[in-house]
Symmetry: C3
Subunit: 154 residues, 3 copies
């Protein structure tokens, strides 16, 4: 893996670290699930990872909201959220809480959009301060994103 890596940035470059930066705008269970799976996958493969939680995504970082909060109201209707949950259990798919913990342990960074906090009236006290690295504005995102190999808006 590291070989392919260094091949991308030549021998004389002092290792520009590969990074993935994800904006998590959606609060849908399945989308946040995908975001963490991708983030954890990148980290496990030696990349850095940053996730910016905004709007409905940030709402999910309220205390107690990660797994027990409102599931994807809209999109889960198609398949039935309980069916999905049951199948996830059967398939040994872990909870969002576990995915988020793994993400932090692997060195992933979580940023909270402070403008969203103003708009939605969310205070730091309501948020998962154990998961959040920094409360910041769009400038922080741009700086992370411009140095990233992979950028996604979820």
């Amino acid at each position: 893996m590291e070989d392919t890596d260094t091949a991308m940035s030549p021998a004389n470059e002092p290792a520009r670290p590969e990074k993935i930066t994800i904006i998590v705008h959606s609060g849908d269970f399945d989308k946040i699930y995908s975001a963490f799976i991708i983030g954890n996958g990148a980290l496990a493969m030696g990349m850095e990872a940053s996730m910016y939680f905004t709007f409905w995504g940030l709402s999910r970082l309220k205390k107690g909201a990660l797994d027990s909060g409102p599931l994807s109201k809209m999109h889960m209707l198609g398949l039935g959220k309980w069916m999905v949950k049951r199948r996830m259990k059967k398939a040994n798919v872990v909870s969002l809480e576990r995915l988020a913990q793994d993400y932090k342990e692997l060195g992933g960074k979580i940023f909270a959009c402070d403008m969203t906090m103003d708009i939605m009236g969310i205070t730091k006290e309501q948020l998962r301060t154990d998961l959040i690295e920094e409360y910041c504005a769009v400038g922080t995102y741009i700086n992370e994103a411009r140095g990233s190999t992979v950028t996604l808006f979820i």
Copy 2:
């Protein structure tokens, strides 16, 4: 193609400009809001910015639709769109109109997907020609995106 590639960033190239290219597919108020916040942030930090409006995103560029058009029908239900609007006012959050004006003044480019115009039966006369730079197809997007540091689909 490879020639164009290497021509894009050879050792002797005088500054390949950093760019962000965003496809705005959604017509949701909150998503278009995020798109402009990101675009304006990138421009303010010296990057170039291109936004491609397609489908529901393009519908929002109809005259009079940017702020008064249909708000995010689906996703705003979760929080209540009026609550969001009131809080945005309280938090001194500007309107989409203002964000779009700032985006243009900062040098951001807005492209309209002509295929969407055909599909949705939208004419140029119905659109905000003051904001739109060009009416074009996917090839224009690909050319902008391949030269971009950050690419998003919103």
Copy 3:
């Protein structure tokens, strides 16, 4: 910033191929339409293309589901799905089936997320094996994405 940039593809590097990698998470007709239009556009312009179908996107790759399956339940409501379909016909817009066939013929790759298959209880027998290149996990996606010029989550 420009220095880091140019360091990414020095003159002596043997043509790092330009690639676009798209995660297709949504099952919405309009979004999958956009994904294929972008993928085909990139291929037509000499780029490589990879699409990762997950969750509702993967559901669309069930046999018979590409065009006749559930249309975008939510988002099409805004405009009326039949109006869109009629206009698409009038505008000579091709079907998803045709777009997918073109994509394959142009050399595009389609990957199926095996975790989604477990969660949603989807078997290979139910899927369009004629379109799918490989059944794989997030690691395969990361490897494709980190070598891509353009990355999108749709």
